[in-house]
Symmetry: C2
Subunit: 267 residues, 2 copies
């Protein structure tokens, strides 16, 4: 559904211009709309104006689009994609999204989100231009976050060193051994302003928790209702702990096979 | 994480060329990789080659990107975006995705996915060129599906008439009254080959259920593990039933305010 911030703007405009067609609802008959809005939407606890979601060729679609959708629920906040380069950026399968803005143009952000992927994400951990940009942006952020193996990139800057963090289950060993993070097994991990999530879909849970920290419970529930986020997974599965060992090990083998050429490139 | 189909290809190639660096895992020591692969990935119950996800200006990002990510887990299947027009298609906030293919070029699909939105989605229910394309494609599909208010568009073709269906909680009244569907309150509803989901994030649950129907339990759990889909919402909320009434009613007012100009356009 269209996002709350636009709807709220419409709603506010309707109130402003006295042209609302909505009668007071019976459930709220003792409250005016203004009282209701004030109650549901208290002032943000942290002032957020900009959320930049990094896109680079090979990123995993939902790592970026999940947080994009959730964080776009914040009214009055500019949520936008920041391309490693300007122009069309390809997801892992070559689907292209247009980035009007590249890292060279963005000098500060309130929230940075770094999505993951596989080989291209690991390769990005050697991209000094990108890592320097992240470090520079981090000096301006209120929250620096990663989704899935995006933590590898964040870790490669040194910013997760000796901090509790998480990543996709397959990526934990690399995050700990190569980037010095202290792995915590959790859907998302909060280490001060550094928020990291487990794989792909965990980015949405992390983003909702971030929304909750910034805007509180009622606002978060409003966003969840807009997104009808009351998940009903077909199986109790999806994590290393609740999935059959043979599936976990086969997947691990597949990831390792996919990573071999970047972890141990032929000289 | 990079999608299974690519990894499986790599894995198969590694097996094929005898260059796998992975020793047999101890947990699978009595099974060869081939036996494991055959067991985990039995032949599809339904032959699927193409999945087309409709994009039109104003669509809700996650309505499209959730099913895209999940259905892309199917090996050997082409999952692609079909634009209402060719070229750049804007989501609700103006973020542009490049569609190499438009509806005029696509004559058949095994699975069609129709994402939702708000005003632009309702306007699409009057777009006869689009509705005729959907009816024509539907005559070729094995599954015709919608996410969120995408059901309005599907309903406008007449294909949901007197069938059980669902949509975003706000959209149910319109789906029933204007398009003759029989509303069923469920995360997703299966009416033969017509699958419809509740709002936004429900598209992922529906897509996993579809994957389960096509590829079975183990394949589905493999996909869930790849996407680490073991959701942990911050609140038990997200549906009309488990959210405070004042939040539900305020949201309903906002949607109605947003829809007013398209539901009752000034003459």
């Amino acid at each position: 559904m269209r996002q709350i911030k636009i709807l709220v703007l419409i709603f506010f405009l309707a109130l402003q211009f006295g042209c609302s067609n909505q009668p007071e609802k019976s459930t709220n008959k003792h409250k005016t709309h203004e009282q209701l809005m004030t109650e549901l939407f208290p002032k943000p606890k942290v002032a957020i104006k900009t959320v930049g979601i990094l896109l680079y060729d090979g990123y995993t679609t939902l790592d970026a689009m999940g947080p994009y959708q959730v964080l776009s629920e914040m009214m009055g906040v500019k949520v936008f994609f920041v391309g490693r380069t300007k122009g069309l950026i390809s997801n892992m399968n070559g689907v292209k999204t247009l980035c009007d803005t590249s890292i060279s143009e963005v000098k500060n952000l309130d929230i940075l989100v770094i999505p993951g992927g596989l080989r291209e994400t690991y390769q990005a951990t050697k991209d000094s231009l990108l890592l320097n940009w992240i470090k520079s942006i981090d000096s301006t952020t209120k929250y620096t976050t990663s989704v899935c193996t995006g933590a590898w990139i964040l870790g490669a800057t040194g910013l997760l060193k000796n901090k509790e963090a998480t990543t996709h289950w397959f990526g934990k060993q690399i995050l700990a051994e190569q980037f010095g993070a202290t792995i915590k097994n959790s859907r998302y991990v909060v280490s001060g302003k550094y928020w990291t999530s487990a794989g792909v879909t965990a980015g949405m849970d992390m983003s909702l928790a971030l929304l909750n920290e910034i805007r509180g419970e009622k606002y978060t529930k409003t966003a969840m209702l807009d997104l009808e986020y009351d998940p009903k997974p077909i199986y109790n599965a999806g994590s290393e702990q609740n999935t059959e060992k043979e599936i976990v090990e086969m997947m691990r083998s597949m990831y390792q096979g996919g990573m071999e050429s970047v972890l141990h490139p032929k000289k």
